[in-house]
């Protein structure tokens, strides 16, 4: 329910809250601005401004190792996000919509485990498992590992959304002779779409940012960007990394704005 007049805080309280809000935003964006600004600095010392230059972007594109890592990251993230979003959404629907089926309780518990397990444990257990089952370590193993933890996160987000949904809508659709698939496609799916998108975004972020698990289950030549940055950043912190980060940030912002625009359009026509 949106805030109504009578419940609003007094103006001075509101002002303090606003100041606090902006301070927190400043806190959140300070390092980001530093990263972006210094990606354009000519000096190889991050922290010392050396004049405006696109030199690092240039070097970035010429760095084979880095470009390969970027390709690996995008490939892995794309596949793991799509698959885990589909599986996670289905899982969330199963738990929320259907109350009684074989193994539901156990599944509910298992779904939470990947969220609470320490990174390094998951990394090691997957490494041990992959070698037992003879799965070649490479991009495939990384994708499999990412899906394993992303399913749960997507499911949690979609479940939160489902919890807020009014099931009467689906029932109304059924009353109007809609088949299950039609009801799903035209009512449930659009209504949970924010949750699905949110879950997908979360999965994408987690996949793109993962270091510990990826570095243990990777194979020859399949380093992803965070793993590559992890190795590089400890040795020589050059603005090249800032350039990469800035571009990835720009790409993510673009993605989000695009999806928001799609949603807006959907709402208007729907």
């Amino acid at each position: 329910m949106t805030l109504n007049q009578g419940a609003a805080a007094r103006p001075w309280v509101d002002r303090i809250l606003a100041i606090n809000g902006w301070l927190v935003f400043a806190f959140l964006y300070l390092p980001i601005l530093v990263v972006i600004v210094f990606s354009f600095s000519a000096s190889p010392n991050v922290g010392i401004w050396g004049g405006f230059s696109l030199h690092w972007y240039d070097r970035m594109f010429g760095n084979e190792q880095l470009m390969n890592a970027l390709r690996n990251s995008l490939w892995v993230a794309a596949w793991s996000t799509v698959i885990s979003t589909v599986l996670g959404t289905a899982a969330a629907l199963a738990i929320d919509r259907y109350r009684r089926w074989l193994g539901r309780g156990v599944f509910d518990a298992v779904l939470y485990l990947p969220v609470i397990i320490p990174d390094v444990t998951m990394a090691v257990m997957l490494l041990m498992w992959f070698t037992q089952v003879n799965i070649t370590l490479g991009r495939l193993s990384i994708i499999l590992a990412h899906i394993a933890f992303n399913i749960s996160f997507v499911a949690i987000v979609v479940r939160a959304r489902l919890a807020n949904m009014d099931p009467a809508m689906e029932e109304a659709a059924a009353d109007l002779y809609a088949s299950r698939w039609q009801a799903f496609r035209r009512i449930t799916l659009p209504l949970i779409m924010p949750g699905v998108l949110g879950g997908g975004l979360l999965a994408l972020t987690l996949s793109l940012d993962d270091v510990v698990i990826t570095s243990l289950v990777q194979g020859p030549g399949s380093a992803t960007l965070p793993v590559y940055v992890f190795g590089l950043i400890k040795r020589s912190v050059t603005p090249e990394i800032n350039a990469v980060s800035t571009l990835m940030l720009a790409a993510s912002i673009f993605l989000v704005l695009a999806s928001l625009a799609f949603q807006r359009r959907g709402e208007r026509s729907g």
């Binding site: 927190v24 259907y98 009684r100 990947p114």
Partner: protein
């Protein structure tokens, strides 16, 4: 019987029991099929590997550290009660608790402010703005903080100018700053969700009954937003327990936390069974916390 009825726990007598039973069984199958792919996947790539970890925690240690499937013992588990492990666990615990408290302190007013903006569009934009910094690489962000906090960093310069603080890098405040930065969204998002769903007419009713703003907040808003507080706290507490990269980079690696203790077992100490048992123990504790959360009425995270 519809979903609606199931939810509300209605126990109407069915008109046609056989049809009801068949529908219910079909529903159960549908539910199972929805979950099947994810269930299968998680069993294959999560549950089974996890079982292996538990099995290995009872194995003995090979020369390279890998577990040898012989000489089964509980050494790795008895080691958990050593004073060293207890010290490390306690320190990690306090770090996580303090970080959660800090995130709550900073996050609640922030989430409240966002949730009480009038236009949905504004709220959406503000939320997205909170998330954007987290789409940059975690390490790059942390190293940016390191740069800001070192002797020539802008924050240090500001502190020295105002006489408030000196070099913050490699101190305890720096660690908490980094942790707060990393986990704030995990607190803000559930809090926002809870506060936004609040029935404000209750608050208005309270005001009508001559409650002051502060009293209305304390006795109506705060308790009603409790699910958000609990959810956010869990989402921050659990990863904080295993955090070690931020304390290492910003704090100078001067303390051993659970996270790096586990990593060491799989690394330099070459003692995988012990690493497995520590991980197993943490998992059990976290599971207990989560179960407690659900028993005490939480629904989803």
């Amino acid at each position: 019987m519809t979903i609606l009825d199931e939810r509300e726990g209605n126990r109407e007598t069915a008109v046609n029991p056989k049809l009801e039973r068949r529908a219910r069984r079909r529903d159960a199958w549908r539910g199972f099929f929805h979950a099947a792919p994810a269930y299968l996947y998680l069993t294959l790539f999560f549950t089974l590997p996890l079982i292996i970890v538990f099995v290995f925690s009872f194995a003995s240690r090979g020369r390279t550290g890998r577990p040898l499937l012989e000489g089964w013992n509980i050494d790795s588990w008895t080691r958990l009660f050593e004073p060293l492990v207890r010290t490390i666990a306690l320190r990690s615990f306090w770090l996580a608790v303090l970080n959660t408290a800090l995130c709550l302190l900073v996050g609640y007013p922030f989430a409240y402010w966002i949730a009480t903006r009038r236009k949905q569009a504004t709220r959406n934009i503000l939320l997205v703005a909170v998330l954007i910094p987290f789409w940059s690489n975690f390490l790059v962000r942390t190293y940016a903080w390191r740069m800001l906090l070192d002797s020539d960093g802008y924050i240090t310069q500001f502190g020295e100018m105002t006489g408030l603080w000196g070099r913050l890098l490699f101190t305890v405040p720096a660690v908490f700053l980094g942790l707060l930065y990393g986990y704030l969204p995990f607190m803000v998002l559930p809090l926002y969700a809870a506060i936004e769903r609040l029935d404000w007419s209750l608050v208005e009713a309270g005001r009508d009954l001559y409650a002051s703003g502060a009293a209305a907040f304390r006795r109506i808003t705060l308790p009603l937003s409790r699910p958000g507080i609990v959810a956010g706290s869990i989402l921050v507490f659990i990863p904080s327990l295993g955090a070690y990269v931020t304390p290492d980079i910003l704090g100078g690696a001067k303390t051993t936390l659970l996270g790096n203790y586990i990593v060491t077992q799989f690394g330099a100490a070459r003692n995988w069974p012990f690493g497995s048992s520590i991980s197993g123990a943490i998992l059990i504790v976290m599971l207990a916390v989560t179960v407690f959360y659900f028993r005490s009425g939480g629904r989803t995270l």
